[in-house]
Symmetry: C2
Subunit: 290 residues, 2 copies
């Protein structure tokens, strides 16, 4: 019988965060004082230095996987995929390292994680708390509080690694939700990636109206409905491209709903139109206070 | 030469507001102390009594057009249309009355206004400050501050009536914007009615995913993008049905943008996809701070 490797409690763990943008920086701030050491890594050396100077992390490291217990990958999805491919090319670590990522899609990352050498104990993660802003300056330790934090363990993920990740989720005040990677991606496509696409298309549709006053009349309704269109393009491009089947399926469903609406409006079918709008209103009012 | 009728300054005007919901109630609160008298009317007698008791209006009147200088119609569009049709069946007032409405669409209202008997001096109005909530309880005097307030004078609108309406817009802290009714409707379809349709379709598209966790993963992005779906259905139904050609045109344009996105994503055309998303992002970031 293979012994389970030894995983430290979060308070005794050295946590390395690779990517100190909005997510990684916020995670570092939220973990302050709750783990043995916070190690930062970022390709942007200016940002990395600033993070050390501001005390967001305890120290910087070019190769943080050398001496950490928990490695958190907090970059856009395709950067995480490249990092995992790189890790897979080298021998595994002498001591067990739990690998958790914060990417917006999980299936391709789970596949890449399954190719990691022994000694790495990977699982996927996704905190549901995006902002349309980015960068360390926007980071805040409260970002995760009360938010759902998806964890996607793989078959190879040992209970100890999952416990450590779960402890991290709870330490930052988030609500853990275990979901298999493909299921996460289908759900995220519908309630996160589709809203982004809808927002961007809305801005573009308004842009095409040849009237100088089109933005004059854009008020709080337009502002909120289009907010996600301001999201960082590289991050969202990675998200859409690594979740294509589910995003395309969501776009098809969305367009079908819009077609139904157009048909009912064209026909002036008031009872059906009222029912269509009312179903959306009732559901939306049940979900959020505003 | 026909003398222009005599229009009072706002401070000397008796203002009657028909419909004391979110818009009418907020207008009353914003006008407090800035006109000679505030008269309220509402089919909902309980709400009307509450408005008098709370001092939102000075008094209630069943037929407020009998002794007011400025009649403000603050109901959903098709209710306003019915009110205008009713006014058109009776002889005009002995003293000039400026008639201003706050409806979300302007072309059908302008047509109904042009049938009013002499003595009424109508023009359209639309403050661009909706909320997804409704009712007098939600009313607030600051609602109009800094917001665009469209005024759509008709050919028959005398300068004095326009001046009085303009004084009202400025008194509530809004920014007047003069737009011809059809032009207003085309613009509002694109930046107000389309966002509502997009939000409602988004809720419906998520609803169709057969997974109990679909709402678990709906976070702030979904919340904001779908906010307008919670709008009052009767009000929005009136809006869509009285602006059908422009709303259908906006839906077509929106649908075309979504089709483009799906095509680029399906093809995996990364440069074109990046350009498509970047154009939306740049425009959105130029419009609002968040």
């Amino acid at each position: 019988v293979l012994d389970e490797p030894d995983f430290p409690a979060l308070g005794a763990a050295r946590v390395a965060i690779v990517g100190l943008g909005l997510m990684g920086g916020s995670l570092a701030l939220a973990l302050r004082g709750q783990c043995a050491e916070l190690i930062g890594a970022d390709v942007n050396e200016v940002a990395l230095l600033a993070a050390v100077e501001r005390g967001v992390v305890d120290r910087a490291a070019a190769f943080p996987m050398r001496d950490c217990d928990l490695l958190v990958l907090a970059a856009p999805v395709r950067v995480i995929l490249a990092q995992l491919a790189e890790l897979a090319q080298w021998p595994g670590p002498a001591r067990p390292i739990t690998v958790l990522d914060l990417g917006s899609t999980k299936a391709q990352i789970a596949a890449a994680m399954s190719a990691l050498p022994a000694g790495y104990h990977p699982l996927g993660g996704h905190p549901m708390c995006g902002k349309e802003t980015s960068g360390l300056d926007q980071a805040e330790g409260r970002l995760f509080r009360g938010r759902v934090f998806v964890l996607s363990p793989l078959e190879r993920t040992p209970p100890g690694a999952l416990r450590l990740a779960q402890a991290l989720v709870e330490a930052v005040g988030a609500l853990p939700c275990h979901l298999e990677a493909e299921r996460h991606d289908r759900l995220a496509a519908r309630v996160s990636h589709l809203p982004y696409a809808a927002a961007a298309a809305l801005v573009r549709a308004a842009e095409t109206l040849p009237d100088e006053h089109v933005w004059t009349l854009a008020a709080s309704g337009f502002r909120d409905t289009s907010r996600l269109a301001a999201s960082e393009v590289s991050m969202m491009l990675d998200t859409l491209l690594t979740n294509r089947p589910a995003v395309l399926d969501s776009l098809r469903r969305y367009r079908a709903e819009l077609d139904d609406l157009a048909r009912l409006l064209e026909a002036g079918d008031e009872p059906a139109l009222r029912a269509w709008l009312t179903a959306a209103r009732e559901r939306r009012r049940g979900l959020f206070q505003t």
